[in-house]
Symmetry: C2
Subunit: 192 residues, 2 copies
Amino acid sequence: VNISVRKRNAAATRAAILASARQAFARSGYDGAGVREIAQAAGVTAMLVNRYFGSKEQLFAEVVSTTMQSTRLLTEEILNSPDPAAGMAEALVGITAAGETPLDGFRITLNSASSERAAEIARDLLEEHYYSTLAAVLHGPDADHRAGLLLALVAGVQVMRQMVGLPALDDAPTVARLIAPLFRQLLNPGPP
Amino acid sequence: VNISVRKRNAAATRAAILASARQAFARSGYDGAGVREIAQAAGVTAMLVNRYFGSKEQLFAEVVSTTMQSTRLLTEEILNSPDPAAGMAEALVGITAAGETPLDGFRITLNSASSERAAEIARDLLEEHYYSTLAAVLHGPDADHRAGLLLALVAGVQVMRQMVGLPALDDAPTVARLIAPLFRQLLNPGPP
């Protein structure tokens, strides 16, 4: 087997393990999902899973990373545009269209809620993925709280548009138009 | 057995069935939870569950109703106060303190996501619980969309403060102060 085939196989094996782990963590949470079960569903051995990912903790972190889709709101292009709030609102409406983004991230977080270690990993990843990016655009006082509320608004729109399917939020252009001033308020807070 | 004892027993039985159903729906979702299993955990027969609640659908609706805690934001007192947005922000921060409101509502919705009937019931209840109340305070254009976004913001703060435990949202007074203008914008939208 030459090197490029080995590389391709390694990438395919890695992807298969990640997909299997994502399903298992979504279904059973961090504590409930076992490395052996994840390996079996991916058609590999538990030893191989550990060789690829180091530990169940690291595998969990990789999976949770892949569910953090909201980075699509915080692209360079949107953040450097004349009206970042409008761009973010439009992107948010896009990723929360029915059937657009899978809700695995919510499932994993909820079903892992009993594990303090899993919550810690998720919090660290949120900070790593978003805070550094948001810090660059959020000026003025309480920047960290405003970043947190921005993430809360994103999560809430995902819940109500995707999870619940609230009819009042069906109309994408109207929703985007109404979300933009909320983002604007969080990016550049005016007088209270 | 006199009437008041019978009534008390009926109320206790009803409460036991609801508690058992809440656990079962949170764990297994609408399709996965069986009336027989719910009855057994409550120490009664499936026939009695149906006598009390009519059907699994109606039992599900009752359980989901009990999880809709956000009505505590929309009390007469808050809505008729001089600054409803500030009152709602304070109430939201109160109900999303760590360990305050159980996350069963999220668990039930997520784990029932595969059932179209369960989603329909949840949407109907949301409309029944919130829309009529919100319609009374939301004037001007796009009132239904703004009501939906208000619910999204509430859900998102619950996710980030309770489910994820985001450290940036720990400080209750600061969070309440920053949420108030967002509610204000949704209640009385200014220029975009």
